[in-house]
């Protein structure tokens, strides 16, 4: 099964066109897209999510359930304010400040809040530490649980069937697919986020970074390293 969430460009292009031409889309059309399976049992729902979302927003605004300005604020927060740069600052601080690292491992929400990052999906966070012989990997096999305050919203691959299905049964194969090598005799610990706990990996600080400032270190830390599918590369090596 191919990952349908990474829609091919022609479909994306189609959706953009559809969204642009849908000013009068209060009346969604019935599903007729060639994508519909013959056995698909929701034929009464319109097929194009762009049209449906627009119609739904319009209805909910008229009924007073939704304030469109609130939607603007929420979108702006995740597009511009909350994202993996937040998490990178937490990791860099832990690398340079052993007392902060101890607090982070003991009580992640408080330590993360020290840097000003709080929001939903992050009330109960736990940081798991990588080392030379221990590698941690985070997944949510049931859906998409993810530490929003420090990483933002999850990437498509994290929510997709290939990652969710295989991360628990073949973590080393998944790591190889991401180009990440873990020694055969090292421990790989997978964390399946099946409850309200949100996991963040504290990656190993790469060698050759002793001279770097906290800010320079933060610039090295990637989202993928904080999920555990990658390591933080030494400076100068592209992730």
């Amino acid at each position: 099964m191919a990952d349908k969430e990474n829609a091919p460009l022609d479909r994306r292009g189609f959706l953009k066109t559809a969204a642009a031409s849908t000013a009068a889309a209060a009346l969604p059309t019935v599903a007729q897209s060639k994508d519909d399976e013959p056995d698909h049992d929701h034929q009464d729902l319109p097929s194009d999510p762009a049209l449906r979302a627009k119609a739904l927003e319009s209805l909910l605004v008229e009924k007073g359930f939704v304030d469109p300005a609130a939607l603007d604020v929420l979108v702006d927060m995740f597009e511009n304010k909350i994202g993996p740069r937040n998490g990178a600052r937490v990791i860099a601080r832990a690398w340079v400040d052993p007392a902060y690292k101890a607090r982070l491992l003991a009580d992640a929400p408080s330590a993360i809040a020290e840097l000003g990052f709080t929001s939903g999906q992050g009330e109960h966070m736990l940081v798991v530490e990588n080392g030379p012989k221990v590698h941690n990997l985070v997944v949510c096999t049931l859906c998409s649980c993810y530490p929003w305050p420090v990483l933002g919203l999850p990437p498509v691959w994290y929510k997709s069937a290939p990652y969710r299905s295989r991360a628990v049964i073949d973590p080393r194969g998944v790591l190889t697919e991401f180009g990440t090598h873990v020694d055969e005799d090292a421990e790989v610990h997978v964390w399946d986020s099946t409850a309200e706990l949100r996991y963040i990996v504290l990656p190993e600080r790469p060698s050759g970074t002793e001279h770097l400032s906290e800010e320079q270190l933060a610039a090295l830390v990637t989202r993928d390293a904080m999920i555990g599918v990658a390591k933080v590369p030494p400076p100068g090596e592209a992730p």
């Binding site: 994306r12 009924k63 304030d67 929001s119 997709s160 069937a161 628990v168 610990h189 409850a195 309200e196």
Partner: protein, 219 residues
């Protein structure tokens, strides 16, 4: 429910498609659906577990075919209908029925940022004592509820060790069906990869799964 969402351990889903410089939202409508979802959840008619269950009720072939935010869109449409916030006619036409009442949004521009901070109640609740302790060997019960559960199939019947007691949380199986919060302890239970997947798995690897008291029994 033994649905398609519970996919841990499946092997035929294809390669992981990693997108470089991926945008937060791939289309403007995804961001709108995200905001609609947060706004509607704040009304308080349904809880996070009922919401998750609604996503899981997307039929399996559809679940795999449609995108992540399309599942959100569909779940919100279904929840709006089920809880009587919109009528089927309104959903079909995109316009309120004549004479329908007008509500005040639960989230507005001034409160939107704060609305993200709400949600999960405190995990420190002395009225729900732990049934198990760190270090104990436990087995995940072999249960197959037709409603919502967060006990993944691949762990059922398998034995592991409690490594962390996370405190007290709402029990999703009952909360999703509006049958009460039944608050109880959640633990990280560490299973060896070999216990879950047999001797072909690495002897060094583990899978750590968060589990509620009601999912566990002593070995």
């Amino acid at each position: 429910m033994n649905g398609i969402h519970d996919m841990g351990g499946m092997q035929d889903m294809g390669p992981i498609q990693h997108e470089k410089n991926e945008p937060v939202f791939h289309h403007p409508w995804e961001g709108r659906v995200y905001g609609i979802d947060r706004s509607l959840r704040a009304i308080g008619k349904w809880n996070i577990d009922a919401w998750r269950h609604q996503i899981e009720l997307v039929p399996p072939a559809e679940y795999l075919r449609i995108s992540y935010y399309e599942r959100w869109l569909r779940a919100n449409e279904e929840l709006l209908l089920a809880h009587g916030l919109v009528t089927p006619t309104e959903l079909a036409t995109g316009s309120p029925d004549a004479g329908s009442a007008k509500a005040v949004p639960a989230v507005n521009a001034a409160t939107a940022a704060r609305s993200l901070g709400r949600g999960i109640p405190s995990s420190r609740d002395p009225s729900a004592p732990p049934q198990f302790a760190v270090g104990q060997r436990v087995r995940a019960r072999d249960i197959n509820p037709v409603g919502h559960t967060q006990l993944p199939r691949y762990a059922r019947g398998r034995a592991g060790i409690i490594v962390i007691d996370h405190g007290v949380y709402t029990f999703p199986d009952t909360n999703a069906l509006f049958l009460g919060e039944k608050r109880q302890h959640v633990y990280s239970v560490r299973f060896t990869a070999r216990e879950l997947w047999g001797n072909g798995a690495s002897p060094h690897d583990t899978v750590n799964i968060d589990m509620w008291d009601d999912y566990l029994e002593l070995v």
